[in-house]
Amino acid sequence: MRRLGQAALVVAGVVGLTFVVTRLVPGDPAVAYAGPRASEAELAQARERFGLDEAVPVQLWNYVRDLFAGDLGISLRTRQPVLDDLALAFPASLELVGTALFVAIAAGIPLGVLAARYKGKFPDLSVRFSSMLAVSVPVFWLALVLQTVFASNLRWFPVAGEYDAALDTTSPLTVYTNVTVVDALLTGNWPILVSTLHHLVLPALVVAAYPIGLIAQMTRAVLLEEAGQDHTRLERSLGFGETSILVRFSLRPALNPVLSLIALVFAYAIVNGFLVEAVFNWPGLGRYAADAIRSLDTPAVAGVTLLVALLYVLANLLVDLVQGILDPRARTR
């Protein structure tokens, strides 16, 4: 309950901050909407339409009231409600980041276990070295390099996009969730499913690089901490092998900090995905945000910001909940 209250406070703060930031953006939103050659009357009309003629506190009040009604305003660029735009862009981002995080967990935790098992030996050093590289590589550059090498030159993977556009005519996709992979699976649309997965490989790998490194480092560190605990000595004296001690006994308590890390990384990966989406022309939030920023589309920028901040808060709440299940000690708090 206390956590929920705190989360609500944070959300309220984020709403306020978003409002302030959007007010700071230079340029008159009315001009952006009505066009540079609009007459004074048209401008006044646009101002009235967006409530820009009201006093700032009234504007804030209107903004909050609209938010509660699920109204994020109308994008100045696409002229669609921001909520609808987000509903289209967010699933694509979720698809990309979800795949990337899945890869990161599937690769990062075993790598961390491997490093901890052979501490100070060659596997440990190479895992530490490569995970350090993974967290130090600039994502936009990695995206460009992989795209040029594996898509443009070797032609193993498509250069950009979410799936082959020609498939829209040969096997059109029925949309339920807007997450293309899920929709294709649900409707048994194999051509689109295969094409999407094929398009996903490179961008997902780039987004996964940072989380893989972080998760591997964290898993290794926590496992090594567990190795000094009494229970490890007990298990060793009972004749369990080193590997089974790590995997069967140490991994479960170690998963806890790794889990909270994943929540942090999730929000980070969504934003990091922005750069990757720009390079691979992925139709997600990042591309939407980049276009919005370039065209000073204030409501759209505010919408994206709010959504990502909400996701961050939600992910943290979720972690607290799951931690209570994984670790009984955390429950009483």
């Binding site: 930031v21 600039p138 990695l142 460009l144 030159n153 934003v271 945000a289 994206v304 910001t305």
Partner: protein, 278 residues
């Protein structure tokens, strides 16, 4: 100091390598005007896009400038951004954190909730929004990243300051009538700084990456400033035909961030064996 270096070299080769690389980068930064083979901004369209060779080790860019020279000068920009950002965000974060930790009660609650709000804001996104507001420049990058980075220091410092404030010597100082500001800055702050120092070295790499990303998006350093992210952005259209214009600046970012990260990791294991994980 030398003892710590020896220990680092023996126990953590990776961190030691990071330190050596950093020292080299700093030397390159200081000596750029003398060791760079060409002037910083000297476009020679005749020499545009020459591949790497004896004349130009890393080739030349689209307007005929030596890529190696631009990278050497780019190190200045990156390190300047990193150091300024760290100083600015640590100044704000540490001050708020130590006040929160010492005062406790509602003051602490208010400061920590504000910190939570800023933490929930994705760093790159807030930086993007601010960079749009403030017009693209190196200063903008510094302000924008600091705005999203200080909460980490506030949090770390508050935690350390809270535990320091509960010590007996702080109590006795209070009983002796030492004024609160003096207690905070003379007694609490110095003893709460270690985790912040570790955090600073760990963060430099992340800041260099974020700054490069902002410049890559066109929201940071502008021509003719040499900046690695900007160089990648300008070269990306030519990547398939002239690989060197993108590859070398990217490697420079990677190596610098790598050096900071390994060094930070090594310092953490020496200074703070209990590992504070954020």
């Amino acid at each position: 100091m030398t003892a710590a270096l020896h220990r680092l070299a023996r126990t953590d080769r990776l961190a030691f390598a990071g330190l050596v690389i950093l020292v080299l980068i700093m030397l390159a930064t200081l000596l750029a005007p003398w060791i760079a083979p060409y002037p910083a901004d000297d476009p020679r369209p005749v020499d545009a896009l020459l591949p790497p060779g004896a004349e130009h080790w890393f080739g030349t860019d689209q307007v005929g400038r030596d890529v190696l020279t631009r990278i050497l000068y780019g190190a200045r920009t990156s390190l300047f951004i990193a150091v300024s950002t760290l100083a600015l965000s640590a100044a704000v974060g540490v001050t708020l954190g130590v006040v929160a930790g010492y005062a406790g009660g509602w003051i602490r609650d208010v400061i920590m909730r504000v910190t939570d709000v800023f933490l929930a804001f994705p760093a790159l996104l807030l930086s993007l929004a601010l960079a749009v507001v403030l017009r693209p420049s190196v200063t903008t990058v510094i302000i924008a990243i600091s705005a999203t980075w200080w909460p980490w220091y506030a949090r770390v410092t508050a935690a350390a300051a809270t535990s320091v404030s509960a010590r007996a010597y702080v109590d006795s100082a209070r009983c002796l009538g030492v004024p609160a500001p003096l207690i905070v800055f003379r007694h609490v702050l110095p003893n709460a700084l270690t985790p912040v120092l570790v955090q600073l070295s760990l963060d430099a790499g992340g800041i260099i990456l974020t700054a490069a990303a902002l410049s890559y998006l066109g929201l940071g350093a502008q021509e003719p400033t040499a900046e690695w992210g900007l160089m990648v952005e300008q070269g990306q259209a030519l990547f398939t035909t002239d690989w060197w214009v993108v590859t070398f600046p990217g490697l420079a970012i990677l190596i610098t961030a790598f050096a900071f990260n390994t060094l930070g990791e090594g310092l953490r294991s020496i200074l703070d064996p209990r590992r504070t994980v954020r």
